[in-house]
């Protein structure tokens, strides 16, 4: 699929990290396992372009050290049910069939039964992991309208395949996550999202969707110049401002409008769906979702509750 160079590296220091969050925005307390750095999917808006120094895919080969680190973190945390993911500095599944990277993690979380592993992807193929899947693994897909995927996520699986794969995961006993991230403003995006959410309601079992995140497009300043240079019309239609964290994001009134619309559409599928905002301000939570979200701890508490509800206290 890609000609990018792949290197196996011995990583030094910690590979498991708390999501860095962002200044004055509420973070869900996600933990990242930086098993792979770099991505073959190369979406046009990907912030990895601004963060990583080259396009080499670096795979950590220290699986024993990663397990030891996870043991220490999970056993040392009594306050929350931790959620881990390998999709922060890469796509969790894009090169997994070829390199078998996640299997040891899937098996580990299945044995551990105290935390959740989320494999977050735009690549709709996890069949190689099927024999090892267990309820502690959540298969998640980023979802966007097909029109947007055709324009900006050209190397990824089409939406239809992602949703079919999500359904397959549900049928194999896994919970699935959906990530509306990035939500992008372009001409006609509202209609496209209505169809997208209707498809989700038709194809997936809402009771087995563990969470849905909403996050509008945001990126660090160096990426803005790149998007202008590459004339990404889809990505530059909306009105951007610089947030308190210095990142470009849509102006607040627009973010609220988008979140309200998506929240209402999703809740119309099933009012029990767990929908959260990724990296948003407390006042946006209040205005868009009508939820008083004080801080990171409050959101982590909501996740704990959600996990307890859907797992029936088995975690």
């Amino acid at each position: 699929m890609s000609l990018q160079k792949v290197e196996f590296v011995d990583t030094h220091g910690s590979v498991v990290r708390k999501c860095p969050g962002t200044k004055r925005h509420i973070c869900c307390g996600y933990q990242t396992i930086d098993l792979v750095e770099g991505c073959v999917l190369s979406c046009s808006y990907c912030i990895l372009k601004a963060y990583l120094k080259d396009d080499v895919i670096r795979i950590s080969r220290n699986s024993d050290a990663i397990i030891a680190e996870l043991d220490e973190i999970i056993d040392g945390c009594g306050d929350h049910i931790l959620r881990f993911g390998t999709g922060e500095l890469s796509d969790s599944l894009a090169i997994d069939r070829r390199y078998g990277l996640n299997r040891f993690l899937v098996e580990y979380f299945g044995r551990k039964k105290k935390a959740i592993l989320e494999l977050k992807s735009k690549w709709a193929d996890f069949r190689h992991l099927e024999p090892f899947l267990n309820p502690c693994t959540v298969i998640s897909f980023s979802v966007s309208p097909q029109r947007f995927i055709d324009a900006e996520e050209t190397r990824t699986s089409p939406l239809r395949k992602r949703l079919k794969a999500a359904r397959l995961a549900q049928d194999r006993g896994c919970f699935v996550g959906l990530h509306f991230d990035p939500v992008v403003i372009y001409d006609g995006f509202e209609k496209d999202y209505r169809y997208l959410i209707a498809d989700i309601g038709r194809i997936l079992d809402p009771a087995k969707i563990i969470w849905i995140s909403l996050g509008t497009l945001r990126f660090p300043p160096p990426l803005y110049g790149l998007l202008l240079e590459r004339r990404r019309k889809y990505l530059l239609t909306g009105e951007f401002i610089r947030g308190e964290d210095g990142k470009y994001r849509y102006i607040k009134t627009e973010r609220i409008r988008i979140y309200r619309m998506l929240y209402r559409l999703l809740k119309s599928i099933d009012s029990n769906l767990f929908v959260y905002l990724c990296m948003e301000r407390a006042d946006v939570w209040r205005e868009a979702l009508g939820i008083e979200m004080k801080d990171n701890e409050s959101l982590m508490g909501l996740f704990d509750e959600r996990i307890k509800n859907v797992y029936g206290g088995t975690l």
Partner: protein
Amino acid sequence: MTDIRLSHIDLKDRRFSLSYPLHDATLRWSIATVGIIQPVILLDRTPYVPIAGWRRLDCARALGMKTVPALVVDMNERNALLIAIHDNLARGCNIIEKAAILDKMVSFGFPREDIFDLMENLNLNRHEKVLSGFLAIARLDMPARDFIFTKNVSFRNIDSLLRFEEKERKKIVSSLGSFHLTESTLREILEMLHLLKIRKGTITGRDMPALPNADALRTHLKERTHPILSGLHRKLKAIRDAMALPPGMDIRVDPFFEKEYIDIIVKIGDEEDIVATLGRISELAEKGYVRSILELTKGRIR
């Protein structure tokens, strides 16, 4: 060295011309006062072809001199170009001259390694992308090159300017030519123009009407690229005008209306000021002004 009649020199043959701009008032005054001290270098052809000393020749022509002191050399064109380049290197070259040097080296067929070596001596990165940027500068029309030179435009902004089509670039150069521009203002204006071009497919006269200065143009463009933000600023201004804040008191709002809170700044000279200020703040709150501003910062009003 010999004196050569100016009429025997082909001043239209600019194949070795690198100097920009050609006219130099100080040099002209100097030559008018003491004459040409340093001889020009001419290629031995009929008529003679200037290699180095273009500014001196321009002054001589303007001053009506009949002859100029010259060194006449006979060599191939590539060596002549090297003489021209090295004659200019010592005094330091501006961005347009660097572009001309690289463009001529390419068109004279110098190997890439030689060109990259020279780029290092011109304090440029030896990189194909940098070279192609300079070649594009060399091929710009005169008004665009003048604009870059007179405004001392950075390479980053030149790169941004080059990404417009020629017709659009002409419009931009002619609109901005008379403005006092800082590097950051120019960058902001070019970014907004790119944004409009991406959204609409082209830049029209309505995007760049005749305006008195760069700030006015920046505000005009902001209205077009950021209509919601501009609308919020207009509403905020209307509220501020209605509030008629007394001297020594200010309300500060996040310029992007991202922060949900506002800062009320007061200057206090004595305790009585505190009482008076608090009274004034209460009055403003009672009249609903503070709430109106907070409505803007909470994203409730578009």
